[in-house]
């Protein structure tokens, strides 16, 4: 079972300890991340001044690194909602210690994802043209376009994810407020909204939290389905496929759970959360990853089978190029990272070995980023007519902005983890109550 030794006050002590003023090494790390973000900002300013010509985007590959990053980060976001909302609805007990970190990851991943379509626009300041608002142009967005669906879906996901995170934080920041002094007390007091944990507050809180989880569940499925339709609604061979929605959703959960491992394993050690984040939690996460890896592998086989069985020469050649063309090595890297390496998780010993899990999670992160790239840029590179074929190579601007995207995400996550409770105290306490109840029932059964 989880957290066998903890009492209610131990949970507060352990989590509130993570909110102690960080040291110099922490700020140095944040400064490094901020510097990479700054480099990305400079690269973006250069792109704005010069135009999209500074990227490697050329006909026929007009969607590449930026859109790959967008799809990757939206996918990363999904597991947070899976763990916080879907597993909440199923009353999955192991989620209590990991869900806040996963949910935080969701919010910052959506924040990161949202940047890339704006960067890809070129003239980013016209992003609001995708939204319906009274204007003098006599034009409104075409609601039949997947790009408009994307704006609505990702926008809704961003707002609902933030709402869900902030709602769940209220009882925890109230506990932080009661233990803090000075500006931190005022800060937590502001976020706690005057919460005192009365029966009336809990009654309404429990209901709204349950309903938010209920709303977030279909939302998360819809968002990545809509993202997949950006591709599937077109006629491009390699994109025009009916399996894209479930395929993308499975891939999103797969990559997101891997990112949860990548973040939680070092964080557990750095913040001293060994008592809350036990090998039992990681074992369960690893089982989800293994299951999703099998689904994703099935999707790879399935789309290849359809390309062959459809006898469509364009589809067939696209997949032929995907395996053996200029991006073939990336395809096989993707298969190795997403289908072969995760099979190691069949071993219960490896599922509880945190070093092995961390290494496997890094391979999966790489594999899933590459998968997005192979689907997006690879399919465009081998379009219908051989005369339209081309090879895309990223420019330094795109590489810098991509690195800045990772740094941006990590910077916010690292800042959050030292200023707000990264483990939900109230839910871990509920877990302790379940454990005590289970022990009593066991004792009752034994006697």
């Amino acid at each position: 079972m989880a957290t066998p030794e903890l009492g209610y006050s131990d949970v507060n002590r352990m989590v509130l300890k993570t909110l102690a003023p960080p040291g110099r090494r922490y700020w140095l790390g944040v400064a490094c991340l901020a510097a990479i973000v700054g480099a990305g900002f400079v690269a973006w300013l250069h792109q704005v001044r010069t135009g999209l010509g500074v990227t490697g985007l050329r006909q026929p590959v007009m969607w590449a690194f930026y859109i790959t990053n967008f799809v990757f980060w939206v996918g990363i976001a999904h597991s947070g909602t899976l763990i916080s909302a879907i597993l909440f609805l199923f009353r999955t007990r192991w989620r209590t210690s990991v869900y806040r970190a996963a949910e935080t990851m969701t919010v910052f991943a959506v924040m990161t994802a949202g940047l890339f379509p704006l960067i890809h626009l070129g003239r980013s300041w016209f992003f609001y043209w995708l939204l319906p608002y009274p204007n003098q142009r006599g034009l409104q967005p075409d609601f039949r376009s997947p790009l408009v669906w994307d704006a609505f879906a990702v926008g809704t996901y961003f707002i609902v994810s933030w709402t869900f995170l902030l709602m769940g934080l209220i009882p925890d920041v109230a506990a932080a407020r009661d233990a803090a002094t000075g500006w931190r007390r005022r800060f937590y007091g502001f976020l706690a909204l005057g919460w005192r944990g009365t029966d009336e507050e809990w009654r309404h809180f429990s209901m709204v939290y349950l309903l938010l989880a209920g709303l977030a569940t279909p939302l998360v499925i819809s968002v990545h389905s809509v993202v997949s339709w950006d591709f599937a609604m077109t006629q491009v061979p390699g994109w025009h496929s009916t399996i894209f929605a479930p395929y993308f959703v499975a891939g999103a959960i797969f990559s997101g759970c891997a990112m949860v491992l990548t973040l939680l394993i070092p964080m557990r050690r750095m913040l001293g959360l060994e008592g809350a984040l036990t090998p039992w939690h990681f074992d369960n996460l690893a089982k989800i990853i293994l299951g999703m890896s099998l689904v994703v592998s099935y999707a790879y086989v399935s789309e290849s089978f359809m390309a062959w069985y459809s006898a469509n020469p364009f589809e067939y050649e696209t997949f032929n190029q995907r395996y053996w063309g200029p991006y073939g090595w990336l395809f096989w890297l993707m298969v190795t990272c997403n289908c072969v390496i995760p099979l190691l998780l069949f071993s219960p010993r490896l599922r509880r070995n945190l070093v092995a899990l961390f290494v496997i999670s890094i391979f999966i992160n790489i594999g899933m980023w590459v998968e997005r790239f192979v689907i997006i840029a690879g399919s465009l590179a081998t379009n219908t007519m051989p005369s339209q074929w081309g090879v895309y190579k990223p420019s330094p601007v795109e590489l810098t902005i991509t690195a800045a995207g990772f740094a941006w995400f990590l910077m916010w996550f690292v800042l959050f983890s030292r200023f707000l409770p990264i483990v939900s105290m109230t839910e871990v306490k509920e877990g302790i109550r379940w454990q005590r109840q289970a022990r009593r029932e066991e004792r009752g059964g034994a006697s």
Partner: protein, 184 residues
């Protein structure tokens, strides 16, 4: 009119000869038991504090389901209607035929309506929570102690000064670790 000398409510507390008794518990079972014992003694808990959402406490209090669910329902319905109104209305006002699709294409419009259903349902649910939970709140809640966000459960009873000893006894018998009295 209130009977002279009888306790009167003022901001959730009683005045005149009224007192507030707070029982502090280490276990939710004891806290829930105290609520049941108080009811059996003809008394009621004015409020209960807990460090997490306790089903046992809610059961003992016999609380009804929160009306926040209606806020979510109404918000969701408004979002759905708004989504269809937005897409059908704007497509009709600004007709622009693309790819031979009808101007009013309901299947793609369902996506926008669905997203707005979720968005408005979620936001109105949060608004409902703030309204019914009376948050944000600046004023202190009578009987509150910082232990209640840590590891303690609290049962606050508002009674007449004459009843203090009896309430104190009921709370202690139910397993209160500490009982405090204040004049309300």
């Amino acid at each position: 009119m209130a009977t002279p000398g009888a306790p009167r409510r003022a901001g959730g507390c009683l005045v005149n000869d009224a007192a507030q008794v707070t029982g502090i518990f280490a276990e939710e079972e004891a806290c829930a038991g105290a609520i049941v014992a108080l009811r059996a003694a003809g008394l009621d808990a004015a409020r209960v504090f807990s460090p997490f959402a306790s089903e046992k406490v809610a059961e003992a209090l016999g609380v009804r389901r929160s009306p926040v669910r209606f806020w979510v329902l109404l918000g969701g319905l408004a979002g759905c209607a708004g989504g269809f109104a937005l897409t059908i209305g704007l497509s009709t006002l600004y007709p622009h035929r693309t790819a031979g699709m009808p101007i009013v294409s309901l299947p793609p419009f369902v996506i926008i309506a669905f997203e707005l259903t979720i968005l408005c349902g979620a936001l109105s649910g949060v608004l409902g929570f703030l309204v019914h939970g009376r948050l944000p709140r600046a004023a202190p809640v009578p009987g509150y102690r910082v232990e209640f966000t840590n590891d303690r459960f609290g049962v606050v009873v508002v009674c007449t000064a004459a009843e203090v000893a009896r309430v104190d006894g009921v709370l202690r018998v139910a397993g209160a670790r500490e009982v405090t009295h204040e004049s309300a």
